[in-house]
Structures are given as structure tokens and as C-alpha cells.
Amino acid sequence: MLDVILMLLVLFNLFSLGSTRISASIRVVAYQGAAIGVVPLFLPGKIPGGILVTIVLVTLLVKAGILPWFLRYAQKRVNVRREEKPFVGASASILSGVAALGTAFFISSRLPIPFAVASPFIVPVALSVSLTGFFIIISRAEALSQVIGYLILENGIYLFGIALLLEQPLLVELGMLLDVFVGIFVMGITVFHISREFEHTDTSRLSGLADWLPEVKRSE
């Protein structure tokens, strides 16, 4: 069952890379968060049932509920439907996502886990989710897309943490969740300001400050 979830996560990755519509991306991120949230239920471990259920519920609430809701709210306020000019097109993004998966498998083959894990695919899939998020951040110009990419990046790191290190003092995991939560809120607020100030949220047009552009460009 864990393998099914991991496969689904990879499919979600590819979908988020291939779609340029913001609302579709937000939905995929919500599903991804939900899939990652239920992963702890399929891991063998000695966590008492009550704590496990709490973690799962809190993660589901934050990753699949609150954060996507906030992103959708931001999208409505900022009124952006799709990514107008991504730096990398849809097909090339999907192929890069596959390359990221290959890279993740390569890296994880060089880093053998010193203890037993539930599935040999967890580390590669977690790394590939993070690489996908990173790729989305650098290949999209739309500010909300970049925030979505950041959320996917954090999802990958969270999967890595929760799958390998469930016995760690969980306060840190929850603290991390809190930080991501607040981070996304702050980013969302900044996006509001950007849209209010510039009447668009296209970060490729935020290039007034640079050392290598001629000074004439300071009109926006």
C-alpha cells in the first residue's frame, strides 16, 4: 500500500509540472499533502497509536486543508488563472521531472540507509518531490506558482523526515510544520502586496533591481 502512495506522489509531481493552471496545481498540492499525511499509518514503528493519529490528523489538516484553502483565497484575491509565460514549457517540464526522478534514484543509491525501511522507494520519491518543487520555483515566473513550488519542496522534505525518522522527538516535526504554515502565510501576504502594487504578480517583470541591466530599465 505504501508503494501505491509513493507511485501516486510521483504521478502528482508530473501533473504539477505539466499543468500551467494555478487552480489545478493547488488541487494537486492538496492531494499530495493528503497522501503524505497518511504515510505514517503504513510505516512499521513503535509509536503509540494516539500520537500517531494526532500527527496524521494535524498534518492532513494543515497540508491538505488550511494551506490549499489559503492559496485558493490568495489566487482569487490576486485574480490569476494560469501561468502566462513559464520559462520552461509543459512537455520539457515533465521530462525534467522524470530526469529529477532518475537523479533522485541515483543519489539514493549512493546513500544507503543504515537501518531498515518500509520500502526502498521512500528516499528516492521524497528526493524527487523536493527536486520537483525546486524545479517549479526556478522555472515559473508567476509568484503564486513559486509559492506552490515551495510548498511541494517542503512536502518532499517532510516525507523524508516522517518516513525515516518517526521516532525522533516529534516536537521538531510539528515545529517544522508550524514554520511552513507561517512561511506560506507570509509569502501569501507578500503576493497580495505585489498584486496591489504592480497590478500583476509576474515576478519576471520585477527586475528593477539588478546590477547588470542598464539603469534605463527602472521604469516598472
Binding site: 507511485m7 508530473l14 521530462l95 522524470v98 522507494f121 528516492p124
Partner: protein, 305 residues
């Protein structure tokens, strides 16, 4: 007697292939609220065409006359390598999966040659589109076969679908589900079904495959139609072989019935999809096939680990 079972399976395939197109049309009619053509319609059509004569344009050359038969021979040869459920294929050797794909490609090549031989612009356009899309669909097909061979450990179609049997699912079931899905997409692409091409279109500008069949008549057209039906059967045997319940160990007739049922199910699914979905814009077809290629590479990476 048992050694002849694979041959009997091939005879059953030869007999049953045109039935599948009948199933597709009947399902489409059902969705549209009509009664639809009889299930055996393609048999009647082929019979009628065989009794007719053919008219050849003066601009066509030798390729136009030879292409339909050459294509049919290629497809018939490919059929000999496909195992049927719990029985092996007639011919097999390591690496025959490449040969099968090339034989199917050879059939397409013959059709392309014939189309270009007519010297007409519509045929040229259709041939160009067909060749363009085949680049993607054949790549995806190869990647799927590579994934299947990684899962089963064999590079022969017979090895993958018959010898490995149910064991092919033990490596990683969810990944193989993705492979089945991508094989289905390849089936749609290679057989010119919706969403890649509309088989009912009568507008030349929107034709991809129908253009090839446009100029042939009589026995040539019969051979083309029959080859198309066999191609559908061959490509549908791949997911059917993966999904076949090897654990049941049926006898000969049970095996044939199960396999026929699986392929008929594929045909019904195709018909349903054709009724419910619309055809993709031509520029979107490479994107869709690239996504399918990405999925098959993902499956390959998972299975090759």
C-alpha cells in the same frame, strides 16, 4: 496435440480480430442511443471488397500496388510472436519484442509509401502527420516493453507474458498498473482512435489514418482493413497478457475465451472512450504522448531499481 495449441490460438486470433471493431462500433452506437451495425459487419465488408476489382490511378507506381499485401504479411508475421494467455507463442527468441515493434512499423511504412506514391497533397499531409506521431508512439511502446522486460527479466514477448506469468506482478504492482495504462494509451495512438484521431471523420484536413486508406479499393482495401484489425488485436494482447489471470490455469477453450474476453473488454473501453471524449488538437498530441513517455520512464526507473 498440445504442441499445436499455439497454432490454434493464432487461427482463433485470425478469425476473431475483425470482431473487435464490431464491438467498438456497437458500443459507440449504444452510447448514442442507436442500434448500430451488426457485430460481424467487418467480415461482410471484407467479403464484399474481396469480390470487387481495384482501380489504380495512372500516377501510382509499384509501391501502391504492393503496399497492402506487404503490410498484411508483416502484421501476420508479428502475430506469430504474441503469446495467448496461458499458452506460448508460435515463435519466440530473445529480443523478439524489438522485431514485433519493427514489423508493425514496417506495416506503417508500407502504408506511408503507398500514400506518398499517389502524388496527392492530402495523402502527403496525412502521411507526414502519421510519421510525426509515430515517432512518439513507437518510443513510448519501446519504453513500455523495456519496463515490462525489467519487471519480468526477459527480453522476449513470450518470456514476459507467458513464462513470467503472474510473477511479473510481484515486483511492484502499482508500477505495473501504470505500465498497463500507458500501453492502453499506445494502443489508442497506434490504432488511430480518439483522442488521437477520429476514425469517422470525412474531412480530409482532419484525417491522419483514413487518408492512407482513401485511395485503395477492392482487395487492397480489404487487406488494409484486415491488417488494421490484426494490429488492434496485437497491441491489445499486450495489456491483456499482463492482466491475464494465470493462476486460474484454464484449459484450451477456457483460455481462448478468457483472452478473447479481455481483448473484447479493451475494445469496449475504446468504444466508450470514443463516445465520451473528444479528439485532441494536433499540437497537443505530442504533448500527450510525451506525458505517456514520462510515465513509462518513471515505471522503468521504479522497476529497474
Amino acid at each position: 496435440m498440445k504442441n499445436l495449441y499455439p497454432l490454434f490460438n493464432v487461427i482463433i486470433a485470425l478469425a476473431a480480430a475483425p470482431l473487435m471493431f464490431g464491438v467498438i462500433n456497437r458500443i459507440k452506437a449504444f452510447f448514442a442511443g442507436r442500434k448500430g451495425p451488426p457485430l460481424l459487419q467487418l467480415y461482410f465488408d471484407i467479403g464484399k471488397l474481396l469480390r470487387k476489382g481495384a482501380v489504380y490511378s495512372r500516377t501510382t507506381g509499384i509501391f501502391f500496388r504492393l503496399a497492402p499485401s506487404a503490410g498484411l504479411i508483416a502484421v501476420l508475421t508479428a502475430l506469430l510472436f504474441i503469446p495467448c494467455g496461458a499458452y506460448p507463442a508460435v515463435l519466440f527468441f530473445p529480443g523478439d519484442m524489438v522485431l514485433v515493434v519493427y514489423l508493425l512499423g514496417a506495416q506503417r511504412f508500407c502504408m506511408l509509401l503507398a500514400a506518398l506514391d499517389t502524388g496527392s497533397s492530402f495523402e502527403g499531409m496525412g502521411a507526414g502527420r502519421d510519421a510525426h506521431f509515430s515517432v512518439f508512439s513507437e518510443t513510448v511502446l519501446f519504453l513500455c516493453l523495456a519496463a515490462m522486460s525489467a519487471a519480468s527479466g526477459s527480453v522476449s514477448l513470450n518470456g514476459m507474458l507467458f513464462t513470467a506469468g503472474g510473477r511479473i506482478w510481484q515486483v511492484s504492482p502499482p508500477v505495473l498498473v501504470v505500465v498497463v495504462f500507458v500501453l492502453y494509451i499506445v494502443l489508442l495512438a497506434e490504432n488511430y482512435r480518439v483522442p488521437f484521431d477520429d476514425p469517422n471523420t470525412h474531412l480530409e484536413l482532419t484525417m491522419i489514418h483514413e487518408v492512407m486508406a482513401l485511395d485503395h479499393g477492392g482487395p487492397d482495401l480489404a487487406m488494409l482493413e484486415y491488417a488494421a484489425a490484426l494490429k488492434f488485436w496485437i497491441l491489445a494482447s499486450l495489456p491483456a497478457g499482463l492482466l491475464f489471470p494465470h493462476g486460474m490455469k484454464p484449459d484450451f477453450f477456457g483460455n481462448a475465451a478468457l483472452f478473447l474476453g479481455l481483448i473484447a473488454l479493451t475494445a469496449a473501453l475504446t468504444g466508450a472512450l470514443e463516445s465520451c471524449a473528444a479528439r485532441l488538437r494536433l499540437v497537443k498530441v505530442p504533448q500527450m504522448l510525451t506525458a505517456a513517455a514520462a510515465l513509462s520512464v518513471v515505471a522503468l526507473i521504479f522497476l529497474a531499481k
